[in-house]
């Protein structure tokens, strides 16, 4: 599981839930690398 697994609340919400579906960090990184249609930095608050 990816993420701070010591925090039981972490994987229960938002992007953490999606990230925690990847069993390893390399699989998550491989997914992030191929996302080429996401407008990076368009929602900076």
């Amino acid at each position: 599981m990816v993420g701070p697994a010591g925090d039981p609340e972490w994987a229960s919400v938002g992007m953490a839930r999606e990230a925690s579906a990847y069993p390893t960090l390399s699989e998550l990184v491989a997914y992030l690398r191929i996302l080429d249609s996401v407008p990076v930095g368009t929602n900076i608050g």
């Binding site: 990816v2 993420g3 701070p4 697994a5 010591g6 925090d7 972490w10 919400v13 938002g14 992007m15 953490a16 999606e18 990230a19 390893t24 960090l25 390399s26 998550l28 990184v29 997914y31 992030l32 690398r33 996302l35 996401v38 407008p39 990076v40 930095g41 368009t42 929602n43 900076i44 608050g45």
Partner: protein, 187 residues
């Protein structure tokens, strides 16, 4: 290594190479890394929770893999009264690979993530935090201080308001990166 590249707009862009990261290093699990990240929780300081990874990317200037090379105090934020200070803790990151977005050349070797610490100087616990930092590669979703400051200035100008707080605070913020969310750091 860096190389200047002439573009059609006449601006010289710079390309450079980062060390890269391999899957074995990414997948080396350390419970201590997980505990370190879990203990970074700062109630109220970063309570934005992107609903998806794609949304987190839109909130980021850059998504990268890096190693936490050091932990140091950052420049404190001073209030209207000089004794009124909020201290920050800086995670010094050595970038290994940019996954999404871009990283200016000046941050190629090192960037600092500014984390709110509190009203006391972080020096007393710094050695322990430095010792506990994750030893392997970490994925970061980061908003650059430069982008955040520019966004603020644009919004103030649109509203016809003067930029509050003077330039010192803005100059401070420009030198750092911030996590887009408490969830924006993965080990």
């Amino acid at each position: 290594m860096a190389a200047g590249v002439a573009t059609t707009s006449g601006v010289v862009a710079t390309r450079y190479f980062l060390p890269g990261v391999d899957d074995a290093a990414l997948d080396t699990y350390r419970q201590s890394d997980v505990e370190f990240i879990a203990q970074l929780g700062m109630p109220g300081a970063m309570d934005v929770v992107p609903s998806t990874l794609k949304e987190a990317i839109t909130m980021s200037s850059v998504v990268l893999v890096g190693e936490i090379a050091d932990v140091r105090p950052t420049e404190p934020v001073t209030g209207e009264v000089r004794s009124d200070k909020v201290y920050g803790l800086g995670m010094v990151v050595r970038p290994l690979e940019v996954i999404q977005g871009s990283l200016p050349l000046r941050f190629r070797d090192e960037l600092t993530i500014d984390l709110l610490h509190g009203e006391t100087h972080p020096a007393s616990g710094l050695d322990e935090v430095r010792e506990r930092r994750p030893k392997g590669p970490v994925v970061f979703f980061l908003r650059s201080g430069e982008d955040a400051v520019n966004r603020f200035i644009d919004s103030w100008k649109k509203e016809g308001k003067p930029v509050p707080g003077g330039t010192a605070r803005l100059d401070r913020d420009r030198q750092y990166y911030g996590l887009v969310s408490y969830h924006g750091i993965l080990v």
